[in-house]
Protein backbone atom coordinates (compact mmCIF):
# COMPACT_ATOMS: atom_id res chain seq x y z
CA UNK A 1 0.00 0.00 0.00
CA UNK A 2 2.87 2.38 0.78
CA UNK A 3 4.73 1.48 -2.39
CA UNK A 4 4.56 4.97 -3.84
CA UNK A 5 5.66 6.66 -0.66
CA UNK A 6 8.64 4.33 -0.73
CA UNK A 7 9.54 5.64 -4.16
CA UNK A 8 9.97 9.08 -2.67
CA UNK A 9 11.93 7.75 0.28
CA UNK A 10 14.11 5.98 -2.26
CA UNK A 11 14.96 9.15 -4.16
CA UNK A 12 15.40 11.17 -0.97
CA UNK A 13 18.83 9.55 -0.55
CA UNK A 14 21.68 11.30 -2.46
CA UNK A 15 23.56 8.06 -3.21
CA UNK A 16 20.44 6.47 -4.65
CA UNK A 17 19.79 9.54 -6.78
CA UNK A 18 23.38 9.32 -8.02
CA UNK A 19 22.85 5.63 -8.88
CA UNK A 20 19.75 6.52 -10.92
CA UNK A 21 21.66 9.20 -12.82
CA UNK A 22 24.47 6.75 -13.49
CA UNK A 23 22.21 3.94 -14.70
CA UNK A 24 20.22 6.41 -16.84
CA UNK A 25 23.13 6.56 -19.29
CA UNK A 26 23.36 2.78 -19.74
CA UNK A 27 22.51 -0.55 -18.06
CA UNK A 28 25.17 -1.69 -15.60
CA UNK A 29 26.09 -4.55 -13.33
CA UNK A 30 26.18 -4.03 -9.57
CA UNK A 31 29.97 -4.20 -9.72
CA UNK A 32 30.24 -1.38 -12.28
CA UNK A 33 27.81 0.75 -10.29
CA UNK A 34 29.73 0.14 -7.05
CA UNK A 35 33.07 1.05 -8.71
CA UNK A 36 31.70 4.58 -9.20
CA UNK A 37 31.27 5.12 -5.47
CA UNK A 38 33.59 5.25 -2.47
CA UNK A 39 30.85 3.56 -0.46
CA UNK A 40 31.33 -0.06 0.63
CA UNK A 41 30.02 -2.66 -1.82
CA UNK A 42 27.34 -4.08 0.56
CA UNK A 43 25.99 -0.53 1.07
CA UNK A 44 25.64 -0.08 -2.69
CA UNK A 45 23.93 -3.50 -2.88
CA UNK A 46 21.46 -2.36 -0.25
CA UNK A 47 20.71 0.80 -2.27
CA UNK A 48 20.21 -1.30 -5.41
CA UNK A 49 17.85 -3.56 -3.49
CA UNK A 50 15.73 -0.61 -2.35
CA UNK A 51 15.65 0.91 -5.85
CA UNK A 52 14.65 -2.46 -7.30
CA UNK A 53 11.97 -3.05 -4.66
CA UNK A 54 10.23 0.20 -5.52
CA UNK A 55 10.61 -0.58 -9.22
CA UNK A 56 12.82 2.37 -10.14
CA UNK A 57 15.44 -0.11 -11.32
CA UNK A 58 14.84 -3.36 -13.15
CA UNK A 59 17.39 -6.18 -12.92
CA UNK A 60 17.89 -8.21 -16.06
CA UNK A 61 19.78 -11.50 -16.19
CA UNK A 62 22.32 -11.54 -19.00
CA UNK A 63 24.31 -14.77 -18.92
CA UNK A 64 26.00 -14.95 -15.54
CA UNK A 65 25.56 -11.27 -14.85
CA UNK A 66 22.69 -9.09 -13.74
CA UNK A 67 22.36 -5.72 -15.45
CA UNK A 68 20.33 -2.95 -13.84
CA UNK A 69 18.40 -0.53 -16.00
CA UNK A 70 15.97 2.30 -15.33
CA UNK A 71 12.25 1.78 -15.34
CA UNK A 72 11.11 4.83 -17.38
CA UNK A 73 7.46 4.37 -16.39
CA UNK A 74 8.24 4.68 -12.70
CA UNK A 75 10.54 7.65 -13.30
CA UNK A 76 7.68 9.40 -15.11
CA UNK A 77 5.53 8.99 -12.01
CA UNK A 78 8.10 10.95 -10.04
CA UNK A 79 8.27 13.65 -12.72
CA UNK A 80 4.49 13.91 -12.48
CA UNK A 81 4.43 14.44 -8.71
CA UNK A 82 4.49 18.20 -9.17
CA UNK A 83 1.26 18.13 -11.19
CA UNK A 84 -1.14 17.70 -8.22
CA UNK A 85 0.55 20.72 -6.57
CA UNK A 86 0.05 22.77 -9.75
CA UNK A 87 -3.53 21.55 -10.05
CA UNK A 88 -4.25 22.57 -6.45
CA UNK A 89 -3.12 26.16 -7.16
CA UNK A 90 -4.88 26.19 -10.52
CA UNK A 91 -8.17 25.18 -8.88
CA UNK A 92 -7.74 27.87 -6.20
CA UNK A 93 -6.96 30.59 -8.74
CA UNK A 94 -9.86 29.55 -11.00
CA UNK A 95 -12.13 29.97 -8.01
CA UNK A 96 -10.53 33.32 -7.13
CA UNK A 97 -11.22 34.50 -10.67
CA UNK A 98 -14.85 33.35 -10.55
CA UNK A 99 -15.43 34.94 -7.11
CA UNK A 100 -13.87 38.27 -8.11
CA UNK A 101 -15.86 38.50 -11.35
CA UNK A 102 -18.94 38.89 -9.15
CA UNK A 103 -17.32 41.85 -7.40
CA UNK A 104 -16.52 43.33 -10.77
CA UNK A 105 -20.15 43.50 -11.84
CA UNK A 106 -21.13 44.92 -8.45
CA UNK A 107 -19.00 48.00 -9.03
Amino acid sequence: MNLRRDVFQAIADPTRRAILVLVASQSMTAGTIASNFDTARPTVSKHLQILTECELLEPEQNGREIFYHLNPKKMKEIADFIEPFRKMWDDRFNKLEAVMKKYKTKK
Binding site: M1, R4, R5, F8, A12, F81, I82, E83, P84, F85, R86, K87, M88, W89, D90, D91, R92, F93, N94, K95, L96, E97, A98, V99, M100, K101, Y103, K104
Partner: protein, 160 residues
Amino acid sequence: MELKTKIHAEDGKHDLTITREFDLPVELLFRAHAEAEIFEQWMSHEYGTVKVVKFEARRHGGWEFQTSDAAGNVIFSANGTIHEFIPDAKITRTFEMANSPFDVQLEFLEFERLSDETSKLRMHVVYRSAELRDQMLKLPFASGLNMAHDRLQDIVGNLR
Protein backbone atom coordinates in the same frame (compact mmCIF):
# COMPACT_ATOMS: atom_id res chain seq x y z
CA MET B 1 -3.54 23.97 -24.28
CA GLU B 2 -1.43 26.51 -22.44
CA LEU B 3 -1.64 25.96 -18.68
CA LYS B 4 -2.89 29.03 -16.83
CA THR B 5 -1.02 28.33 -13.60
CA LYS B 6 2.67 27.56 -13.94
CA ILE B 7 5.08 26.18 -11.38
CA HIS B 8 8.78 26.72 -11.80
CA ALA B 9 10.80 24.51 -9.46
CA GLU B 10 14.41 23.76 -10.32
CA ASP B 11 15.96 20.51 -9.15
CA GLY B 12 17.81 20.73 -5.84
CA LYS B 13 16.81 24.33 -5.09
CA HIS B 14 14.97 25.52 -2.00
CA ASP B 15 12.48 27.82 -3.68
CA LEU B 16 9.81 27.78 -6.36
CA THR B 17 7.71 30.25 -8.34
CA ILE B 18 4.00 30.07 -9.09
CA THR B 19 2.74 32.38 -11.84
CA ARG B 20 -0.75 32.97 -13.10
CA GLU B 21 -2.48 35.47 -15.36
CA PHE B 22 -5.98 36.56 -14.42
CA ASP B 23 -8.90 37.86 -16.36
CA LEU B 24 -9.27 40.53 -13.65
CA PRO B 25 -8.07 44.09 -13.03
CA VAL B 26 -5.07 44.11 -10.68
CA GLU B 27 -7.17 45.89 -7.98
CA LEU B 28 -9.56 42.91 -7.78
CA LEU B 29 -6.72 40.38 -7.82
CA PHE B 30 -5.14 42.21 -4.89
CA ARG B 31 -8.46 42.51 -3.02
CA ALA B 32 -8.84 38.72 -3.15
CA HIS B 33 -5.64 38.54 -1.07
CA ALA B 34 -6.40 41.49 1.18
CA GLU B 35 -9.94 40.88 2.50
CA ALA B 36 -10.71 38.01 4.87
CA GLU B 37 -14.26 37.26 3.67
CA ILE B 38 -13.14 37.08 0.04
CA PHE B 39 -10.13 34.92 0.90
CA GLU B 40 -12.48 32.50 2.71
CA GLN B 41 -14.58 32.15 -0.42
CA TRP B 42 -11.86 31.17 -2.84
CA MET B 43 -9.78 29.08 -0.43
CA SER B 44 -12.73 26.87 0.61
CA HIS B 45 -13.22 23.64 -1.36
CA GLU B 46 -15.35 20.50 -1.36
CA TYR B 47 -13.28 18.91 1.41
CA GLY B 48 -13.21 21.88 3.74
CA THR B 49 -14.46 25.34 4.64
CA VAL B 50 -11.91 28.06 5.35
CA LYS B 51 -12.44 30.41 8.26
CA VAL B 52 -10.12 33.37 8.78
CA VAL B 53 -9.35 33.66 12.51
CA LYS B 54 -7.02 36.65 12.30
CA PHE B 55 -6.20 38.99 9.46
CA GLU B 56 -4.22 42.17 10.01
CA ALA B 57 -3.64 43.47 6.48
CA ARG B 58 -0.68 45.71 7.24
CA ARG B 59 3.08 45.73 7.78
CA HIS B 60 3.92 43.62 10.86
CA GLY B 61 0.36 42.31 11.03
CA GLY B 62 -0.49 38.64 11.67
CA TRP B 63 -2.81 36.23 9.92
CA GLU B 64 -4.33 32.84 10.70
CA PHE B 65 -6.91 30.63 9.05
CA GLN B 66 -8.49 27.25 9.74
CA THR B 67 -10.04 24.69 7.42
CA SER B 68 -12.90 22.60 8.81
CA ASP B 69 -14.55 19.48 7.43
CA ALA B 70 -18.30 19.01 6.98
CA ALA B 71 -18.65 17.95 10.64
CA GLY B 72 -16.92 21.12 11.84
CA ASN B 73 -13.63 19.49 12.86
CA VAL B 74 -10.58 21.63 12.16
CA ILE B 75 -8.49 19.62 9.67
CA PHE B 76 -5.91 22.25 8.77
CA SER B 77 -4.61 25.43 10.31
CA ALA B 78 -2.01 27.91 9.06
CA ASN B 79 -0.64 31.24 10.21
CA GLY B 80 2.06 33.80 9.59
CA THR B 81 3.22 37.39 9.67
CA ILE B 82 2.89 40.09 7.06
CA HIS B 83 6.09 42.00 6.36
CA GLU B 84 5.11 44.18 3.43
CA PHE B 85 1.64 45.20 2.34
CA ILE B 86 1.63 47.51 -0.70
CA PRO B 87 -1.86 47.77 -2.25
CA ASP B 88 -2.14 46.50 -5.84
CA ALA B 89 1.59 45.71 -5.90
CA LYS B 90 3.13 43.45 -3.28
CA ILE B 91 2.61 41.30 -0.19
CA THR B 92 5.53 39.72 1.66
CA ARG B 93 4.46 37.20 4.29
CA THR B 94 5.48 34.07 6.14
CA PHE B 95 3.44 30.85 6.09
CA GLU B 96 3.49 28.21 8.80
CA MET B 97 1.38 25.07 9.05
CA ALA B 98 0.17 24.52 12.61
CA ASN B 99 0.84 21.15 14.28
CA SER B 100 3.31 20.12 11.62
CA PRO B 101 7.05 19.45 11.71
CA PHE B 102 7.58 21.77 8.72
CA ASP B 103 9.59 24.96 9.13
CA VAL B 104 8.04 28.29 8.23
CA GLN B 105 8.27 29.44 4.60
CA LEU B 106 8.69 32.94 3.14
CA GLU B 107 6.34 34.13 0.39
CA PHE B 108 6.68 37.12 -1.95
CA LEU B 109 3.48 37.92 -3.85
CA GLU B 110 3.85 40.41 -6.68
CA PHE B 111 0.79 41.81 -8.43
CA GLU B 112 1.20 43.21 -11.91
CA ARG B 113 -1.22 45.11 -14.13
CA LEU B 114 -1.24 43.74 -17.68
CA SER B 115 -4.17 45.77 -19.04
CA ASP B 116 -7.30 47.42 -17.59
CA GLU B 117 -8.94 43.99 -17.40
CA THR B 118 -6.05 41.59 -16.92
CA SER B 119 -3.34 41.07 -14.34
CA LYS B 120 -0.61 38.70 -13.25
CA LEU B 121 0.39 37.18 -9.91
CA ARG B 122 3.90 35.96 -9.27
CA MET B 123 4.40 34.03 -6.04
CA HIS B 124 7.97 33.34 -5.02
CA VAL B 125 8.11 30.82 -2.16
CA VAL B 126 11.34 30.20 -0.23
CA TYR B 127 11.73 27.12 1.99
CA ARG B 128 14.40 26.40 4.57
CA SER B 129 15.90 23.56 2.49
CA ALA B 130 15.52 21.83 -0.86
CA GLU B 131 14.31 18.71 0.99
CA LEU B 132 11.54 20.68 2.69
CA ARG B 133 10.48 22.23 -0.61
CA ASP B 134 10.17 18.80 -2.22
CA GLN B 135 8.21 17.49 0.78
CA MET B 136 5.77 20.41 0.51
CA LEU B 137 5.45 19.88 -3.24
CA LYS B 138 4.49 16.27 -2.61
CA LEU B 139 1.80 17.01 -0.02
CA PRO B 140 -1.04 17.44 -2.55
CA PHE B 141 0.30 14.37 -4.36
CA ALA B 142 0.18 12.36 -1.13
CA SER B 143 -3.26 13.62 -0.08
CA GLY B 144 -4.50 12.92 -3.61
CA LEU B 145 -3.39 9.33 -3.15
CA ASN B 146 -5.10 9.19 0.23
CA MET B 147 -8.33 10.55 -1.22
CA ALA B 148 -8.19 8.05 -4.07
CA HIS B 149 -7.58 5.35 -1.49
CA ASP B 150 -10.50 6.54 0.66
CA ARG B 151 -12.79 6.55 -2.37
CA LEU B 152 -11.65 3.05 -3.26
CA GLN B 153 -12.41 1.94 0.30
CA ASP B 154 -15.89 3.51 0.07
CA ILE B 155 -16.60 1.70 -3.17
CA VAL B 156 -15.25 -1.61 -1.94
CA GLY B 157 -17.13 -1.10 1.35
CA ASN B 158 -20.39 -0.66 -0.57
CA LEU B 159 -19.83 -3.90 -2.43
CA ARG B 160 -19.95 -5.93 0.75
